[in-house]
């Protein structure tokens, strides 16, 4: 272009940009700014998670009834196999075992599906990432929020099962709330980590089901860890019992089930639950933020 001489002539692009206060497009914001941006998008995060949840069953004839029916059927299958056929209850009375198992399945599924959704949060939504501006952490956070809402539907089933097996509402049920809140923070941190890994290596989506299944069997979803491993060296029991999935499961069981007293919980369990949540929540968020400007590269 034949522009007339102007004071801007002879400046390098970087100098010209600095002179007029232009900023680098797509640069990563500072951590504090990032948190602020994410908070600014809270309505989007919530709306997106609710939309995903509704869209899930909108083609089915029974519609949103599946939100409750799916966990119910899930619990029934596990009860059939592990309760009736394999008999993994070993020393847990029947009226404790059924709610014990159902709680385990639901609480573990919460972590499991958050991780699975996290892996695909960026790699499965590249269209969105390449079309619109928003802090990318909105996606994994939104997916774990969707799983939290899914869990609330499962809790309806859990309450029914608990009452059916003789655990009636009492004050300790309120302990479910802090336990699940901590688990939600933990799950979100894990989902953020998986989202960054999965954006680089989409193959993880193929691998994760196996890892998650191993984790499930090692966390005592369908058996009591201390009872099952009482002839083995004590450190194995400790490792399995202090793993985050087992910790959150035990806390919810302790809160909900009458016959599942504190003698079944490892020492300092609340402290461990808080530690896992804080550790994964912060580490996951920072780890995800570090690659913010690179998401969406094909």
């Amino acid at each position: 272009m034949s522009a007339p001489p102007s004071p801007d002539d002879g400046l390098s692009p970087a100098e010209l940009a600095a002179k007029h206060g232009l900023s680098v497009s797509g640069a990563r914001p500072s951590l504090a700014d990032y948190v602020r941006q994410l908070w600014g998008r809270r309505h989007f995060i919530l709306a997106f998670s609710q939309a995903k949840l509704t869209a899930q069953y909108s083609q089915a004839k029974l519609g949103q009834l599946w939100q409750v029916a799916t966990p119910l059927l899930n619990a029934f299958v596990y009860y059939l196999i592990f309760g009736l056929i394999l008999g993994t209850k070993r020393g847990i009375p029947q009226d404790v075992f059924v709610p014990f198992l159902v709680t385990g399945v639901f609480v573990f599924t919460f972590t499991q599906s958050s991780v699975m959704a996290g892996v695909r949060a960026i790699s499965g939504n590249l269209g969105l990432v390449r079309a619109l501006h928003f802090p990318r952490a909105s996606l994994p956070v939104s997916f774990s929020l969707q799983q939290l809402q899914q869990l609330l539907f499962s809790m309806i089933v859990l309450i029914a099962v608990a009452v059916a097996f003789g655990s009636y509402p009492r004050l300790s049920w309120l302990l479910v709330l802090p336990a699940l809140a901590l688990q939600f923070v933990f799950n979100t941190g894990l989902a953020l980590i998986m989202a960054r890994l999965g954006s680089k290596t989409p193959d993880l989506a193929q691998l994760m089901p196996f890892i998650m299944r191993t984790w499930m069997y090692a966390s005592g979803v369908m058996f009591s860890i201390p009872l099952m491993l009482k002839d083995r060296p004590g450190w194995i029991t400790d490792v399995l019992q202090y793993n985050p999935a087992a910790v959150y499961m035990d806390l919810v069981r302790f809160a909900m089930i009458d016959g599942y007293g504190s003698e079944n919980l490892p020492a300092h369990v609340w402290l461990v639950a808080v530690a896992w949540a804080v550790l994964l929540g912060i580490a996951g968020f920072v780890y995800f933020w570090k690659a913010e400007e690179r998401y969406g590269r094909g």
Binding site: M1, A3, P4, S6, D8, S12, P13, A14, L16, A17, H20, G21, L22, S23, V24, S25, G26, A27, R41, H43, F44, A47, F48, A51, K52, T54, A55, S58, Q59, N125, G127, L128, V129, R130, A131, L132, H133, F134, P202, E293, R294, G296, R297, G298
Partner: protein, 261 residues
């Protein structure tokens, strides 16, 4: 008109030697069998693995855009126009080089945020939130979005899931949502060709309005007519390189000569 722009030329977008490289997994190596994939992993060289093919979509583009300009991007299919737009918007990271912008450039389009299984109503809200509008802004503009799309002209369609819409209706709703927000730097990628004749006229009007509010507009189009109508400067990209940058008439003439029209 060009003269009063030049008096205080405030740059809004500066592209400095931008390169963009796509990496495609599993696109290379000829055979796509499992053994071929395995041998690719085993023979992995340091740095780049053989299974990943690189596509160099934009090669060293530099330009400066100023406030008040409407810039057209032309070039044959696959010449890197849309990729360059995404890089300006900061949505696609550049391999090397930098893009400096004033404010947040945005791409006209919300398609990816909408969900076919949800009602049009919920999609308007979801799309608005995805573009960064507040809930109050969406509430204020909701009726005008619906009216503009004309979805409810043939009955109460806005409360039905979007998958029940005809392709034209869905495209109209998408455009209406996307065009509801004001932008500093606006980028339009072939958005003008949706809907029936009546809707096209309405959307061209809306684009002109958006142009007035936005500082700078980029328009990708294969229609030389719509470029002539809206743009005063044109960038011609070919194979990822900037072939020509100048006033609309000059560049379009050269382009038409080259493409043999």
């Amino acid at each position: 008109m060009a003269d009063d722009i030049k008096q205080d030329r405030v740059p809004t977008v500066i592209a400095d030697d931008v390169h963009i490289v796509y990496r495609v997994n599993g696109g290379g190596g000829g055979r796509g069998s499992a053994t071929a994939a395995l041998s690719r992993i085993l023979r992995r060289d340091k740095g780049e693995s053989r299974g990943v093919r690189k596509v160099h979509a934009v090669r060293g583009v530099s330009f400066t855009a100023y406030r008040g300009e409407a810039i057209g991007l032309i070039g044959t299919n696959g010449s890197g126009k849309s990729t360059l737009l995404r890089a300006i918007a900061g949505l696609l990271p550049a391999e090397s080089g930098k893009v400096y912008t004033d404010g947040q450039p945005s791409l006209l389009g919300v398609n990816a945020a909408l969900m076919n299984d949800l009602t049009g109503e919920r999609n308007v809200i979801l799309g608005g939130l995805a573009m960064g509008m507040t809930r109050e802004q969406i509430r204020d503009r909701y009726q005008s979005i619906v009216d503009f799309s004309g979805i409810n002209e043939k009955g109460d369609f806005i409360t039905l899931p979007m998958r029940t819409y005809s392709s034209g209706m869905a495209a109209r709703l998408r455009f209406s949502i996307a065009a509801a927000k004001d932008h500093d730097v606006l980028m339009i990628d072939e958005a003008l060709a949706t809907g029936d004749r009546k809707f096209q006229i309405r959307s061209e009007e809306r684009i002109r309005e958006l142009r007035k509010q936005a500082g700078t507009v980029f328009l990708v189009s294969h229609s030389n007519k719509s470029i002539r109508d809206t743009c005063d400067r044109v960038l011609w990209l070919e194979k990822g390189e900037l072939l020509m940058d100048g006033p609309t008439d000059e560049v379009i003439k050269a382009y038409e000569k080259e493409t043999g029209k």
